[in-house]
Symmetry: C2
Subunit: 123 residues, 2 copies
């Protein structure tokens, strides 16, 4: 399955300072167009809870079997929301035997966090 | 105009440690329902750029006259997007003479940032 990571702001080198915070200089149109779908992926209560469940799972990985039972929505609906999170570059997954396991792409979270860091704190 | 702030996670006391990071423990349904509209407000390229323009303005405030000329969309469209940002508790505004001035509600940004801080960094 997809190994893509969030195509966010430069630089891509994880050792380098990450991202121009939203509050330090105006986003370009291209940056905004890249970021908006990531925020959109998090703009749904079920997806936010799925994302949080995956992120806080023991070992950093969550079986789709555990994710599905945590919600009172259908399994296809959960699958749809997981696909949206994956396509936004926020999580990735892998099938192991019967079940699919999800984990967070940590750079995605770190970059969003860096982007939102208030200017005073980032300076 | 509205002085409301982002009704996010407890505690509201700005001196206290803010928010359970998304990656540290699962969000409750109520927390997710409160947060999703904030992410939705940022899930549009024009709103992201408006938010960033306001956040990075000299003096921390932006005149709507300057915001409008920065985009190739109509003034009513800009007004709509600014209203969405304001209703999400991300910005506030005040009329001074002819123009309305917008500024960031800093707690909103700080709380979103804290929420997204990776578990390892938050620990």
């Amino acid at each position: 399955m997809s190994k893509k990571e969030l195509p966010l702001l430069q630089p891509a080198d994880p050792a380098a300072p990450c991202c121009s915070p939203l509050a330090r200089e105006p986003l370009s149109g291209a940056e905004a167009a890249t970021l908006a779908p990531v925020f959109k992926a998090l703009a749904d209560p079920v997806r936010l809870r799925l994302f949080s469940l995956i992120a806080s799972s023991a070992g950093g990985q969550a079986c789709v079997c555990d994710l599905t039972v945590a919600f009172e929505v259908s399994q296809p609906t959960i699958s749809h929301h997981l696909r949206v999170l994956r396509e936004a570059g926020l999580v990735d997954c892998e099938r192991r035997g019967t079940w699919v396991y999800y984990w967070l792409l940590p750079n995605a979270l770190a970059r969003l966090s860096a982007l939102l860091t208030p200017a005073a704190a980032a300076a």
